[in-house]
C-alpha cells in the first residue's frame, strides 16, 4: 500500500500506522481529521470532497519529502479520503514516526497545517437547507 494515497474508501488508522512503524522509531503521532456535525452552529448532514487528484498527490508527496528532510529518520504516511462522507468519519489520516516523541508531534502538526494550505482538495458542506464550498467566499 502506498504511503501517500487519495481514496474513496474508509480510512483505517491501524493500517496507516503499520506503514510508518519501524522498530528504531519510538514515537508515532497520528492526526485524524473527521467530519464535524456542525459549522457555526448549523447542522452538517454530510460532506463532499473533491480532489484535483494528480496535483493533490504531488503536493502530498512534497509534504512527506519536507517532513523527511526536516526530521531526519522520520517515517510518514498521508491518506486522504474523497467523495461523500458522513459526520464522524475520517477525512484525513497523517501518521509520523520519529526516534523521539517531540519530533513526532512537531512533524505531524507541520504536515496537517501544510496540507490544509497547499493540497488541492475541496470540501462542500451539505446542510438540510443548502450547501456551501468551504472557504470559497470572503
Amino acid at each position: 500500500m502506498s504511503l501517500i494515497k487519495i481514496t474513496d474508501a474508509t480510512l483505517n488508522a491501524n493500517e496507516i500506522i503499520a506503514q510508518v512503524l519501524r522498530d528504531d522509531l519510538g514515537g508515532i503521532d497520528i492526526f485524524i481529521g473527521t467530519v464535524r456535525n456542525q459549522t457555526k452552529g448549523k447542522k452538517v448532514v454530510r460532506l463532499e470532497y473533491e480532489a484535483y487528484r494528480p496535483m493533490a498527490l504531488s503536493e502530498m508527496n512534497k509534504i512527506a519529502n519536507q517532513v523527511r528532510e526536516k526530521w531526519p529518520q522520520s517515517s510518514i504516511a498521508i491518506h486522504h479520503r474523497i467523495g461523500i462522507l458522513n459526520t464522524g468519519e475520517a477525512v484525513v489520516v497523517i501518521a509520523v514516526a520519529t526516534p523521539h516523541r517531540q519530533q513526532a508531534f512537531e512533524a505531524c502538526k507541520y504536515a496537517i497545517d501544510t496540507l490544509k494550505e497547499t493540497v488541492p482538495i475541496w470540501k462542500k458542506e451539505v446542510f438540510d437547507d443548502g450547501e456551501v464550498w468551504v472557504a470559497a467566499h470572503p
Partner: protein, 82 residues
C-alpha cells in the same frame, strides 16, 4: 492558441463545467489570463481568492502560459475546520 482549463469545487460550479476551452492570443501570463476569465465569468470575482496551477504546480502571476500546458483553477482548499 487553444487553452484547456480544469475546474474544481466552486469554480466548477460557477462556470458550470469541469473543463473549459478558451481561445487565447499568445503569449499570456497568469495575471492576464485571470482577467480574461473574470471578464467572461464575473461570478469568479465573488471568490475570496483563487490560484492557477500550470502542469500541476502553483503558478505566479507573471508566469507565462504556453500551448499544451495543463491549466487548473484552484479555489480556496478545504480550509479551517478540524
Amino acid at each position: 492558441m487553444k487553452l484547456e482549463i480544469l475546474l474544481f469545487g466552486i469554480a466548477r460550479e460557477i462556470v458550470g463545467s469541469s473543463k473549459l476551452q478558451l481561445e487565447q492570443e499568445e503569449p499570456v501570463d497568469v495575471k492576464s489570463f485571470k482577467q480574461v476569465l473574470q471578464r467572461r465569468y464575473p461570478k469568479m470575482n465573488h471568490l475570496s481568492y483563487y490560484k492557477v496551477a500550470i502542469n500541476q504546480e502553483f503558478a505566479e502571476d507573471d508566469q507565462l502560459i504556453k500551448e499544451g500546458d495543463e491549466i487548473a483553477l484552484i479555489p480556496p482548499v478545504s480550509g479551517g475546520a478540524f
